[in-house]
Assembly symmetry: C2
Homo-oligomer: 299 residues x 2
């Protein structure tokens, strides 16, 4: 520790030291089985370090939430008469949006990695050396309340949006069967009490599984939606979720002229480099031929 | 491929198919050495897939660049008389900024993962199964022009900033010794011709190695800097680069009240989940004790 650090830094350090150390992150199987391979240190992935740990990600999130709240405040003041929800059958060539009439305004948010970070389950998967599995995830939905944290900037952003008279509605692929745990998770992260079928829409509420358009239409029966916010394109419109699209095709579709002006103007994406349909692509997809380079001298 | 895809999607697909397939991503050593272990498929990391390949990252970048350009345009219209560069000796308790006088306005950008993505070198490291090494990186600085790409939104953002009469200046830790390659890399990515010592500042231009404050002061001799943009806190101020800070302390320092209102208002961070001082932290840092959770039934 440098001696020149200002007092506020010392105060920060003191605050950090109040947390008790967490349980050791060593899998039991290693300790119990002497024939097991040498213990390798369990480490967070680079993406986990960046998203959940870095000052940089905190700042990106605060910047983004400020922009979302400012946009919604402006919309609340100007009272648009068309929503940002694509109408059924809309295409890039015929991008129609739902009409609003005089319905009250709402902003619709995904939950996971949009309002909350799933720090508890992400750490558990890492300690177990597992990727996502539905059994563990279901248990997380039911029992994780208090172990998921509000994303930096989200509580302020949601408060500003509500203060502007705009309803905050959650449209998540958490399961309707786990409704109590999901409501408790959002409440304990500080977002207040959502009401299933009114301000909270879950997988199973409408046909189509994880596709969210049907729930967006249900929300639109009562609200004029002025903002859609998520970490994946499926939080915006099902048209982006065609699983046959390669990454470059998906990027191009999101950049179609009918859609591109919406990003940051009603449609908002927050960074999540950990999981989801955004995490896809072969070497050829991610490092395309026109950028191929190799050093002359390889070790 | 679904038959219902609209014409524009087909046009996108056709455009994607014009690129020739890249060279095979299989290391030579595997082919040449029959005793080598079984070939494991080389895959991009999740962070690489997200940042360089996903529609979501493209959108986050476009959103961010729009905000940066809009902010600089507003500053150009209002002509501030203080810069966003912290004065020497500034602390969170005494956050003083450089004065501007009537100097012309400038916006200062990091290069790597701020203006450009280093797609060529990132792919090369992945194919070689290596992390960053200085020999390869030096060669990349000298020969990578044309294989680094403009970040989505950056070319438009830089054009808007220049159109507002604000000078675009690059402050990067690429080496002064490789100045020609670095100028060529930025030019071939579409950003125009930067001039060393005038609009381009490199490592080695001032004492302090990779610390950028000295270069920020040099820039400020001629310009009033209204925006600082990067992917790491060191692109904003050296005060954040204290290597003794744990991730939570670094986050807290960036959130000190004197600094927090600057993010998105003169200080801007773009997401980079791949490398840098933002990628740090143990299991205890990233998954703090208060979020500890484990499932009752582990497989």
């Amino acid at each position: 520790m440098k001696t020149a650090l200002p007092l506020i830094t010392l105060a920060i350090l003191a605050a950090c030291q109040t947390a008790a150390p967490p349980p050791a992150a060593q899998p039991e199987s290693v300790a119990m089985d002497p024939s097991a391979p040498a213990i390798t240190e369990i480490k967070p992935s680079a993406g986990e370090q960046w998203l959940l740990g870095s000052a940089e990600a905190r700042i990106v999130m605060v910047q983004s939430w400020n922009e979302i709240a400012s946009y919604v405040e402006k919309q609340a003041a100007s009272r648009p008469n068309a929503s940002v929800i694509l109408a059924p059958g809309a295409t890039p060539d015929a991008p129609e949006f739902l009409a609003c009439g005089d319905k009250p305004l709402a902003a619709v948010f995904d939950a996971d990695e949009t309002l909350i970070w799933n720090t508890g389950s992400t750490g558990a998967y890492r300690r177990m050396g597992k990727e996502y599995d539905p059994i563990t995830w279901g248990e997380w939905e039911r029992t994780g309340a208090g172990k998921a944290v509000a994303i930096p900037g989200a509580l302020d952003g949601v408060a500003r949006i509500r203060a502007a008279g705009v309803e905050v509605i959650v449209n998540t692929n958490r399961e309707a069967a786990n409704v109590e745990g999901n409501i408790a998770t959002l409440a304990q992260a500080g977002f207040g009490e959502f009401v299933h079928g009114s301000t909270l829409f879950l997988k199973g509420d409408t046909p189509g599984g994880s596709a969210k358009d049907a729930r967006r239409y249900a929300i639109s029966e009562n609200y004029c939606v002025v903002a859609l916010v998520g970490d994946q394109l499926g939080d915006i419109a099902d048209i982006f979720n065609d699983k046959t699209l390669r990454p470059a095709e998906r990027r191009s579709l999101s950049a179609a002229s009918a859609f591109d002006s919406l990003w940051g103007q009603g449609w908002f994406i927050l960074p999540n480099p950990l999981y989801g349909p955004s995490i896809a692509g072969s070497m050829d997809d991610i490092f395309p031929a026109e950028t191929y380079w190799e050093p002359a001298s390889k070790d």
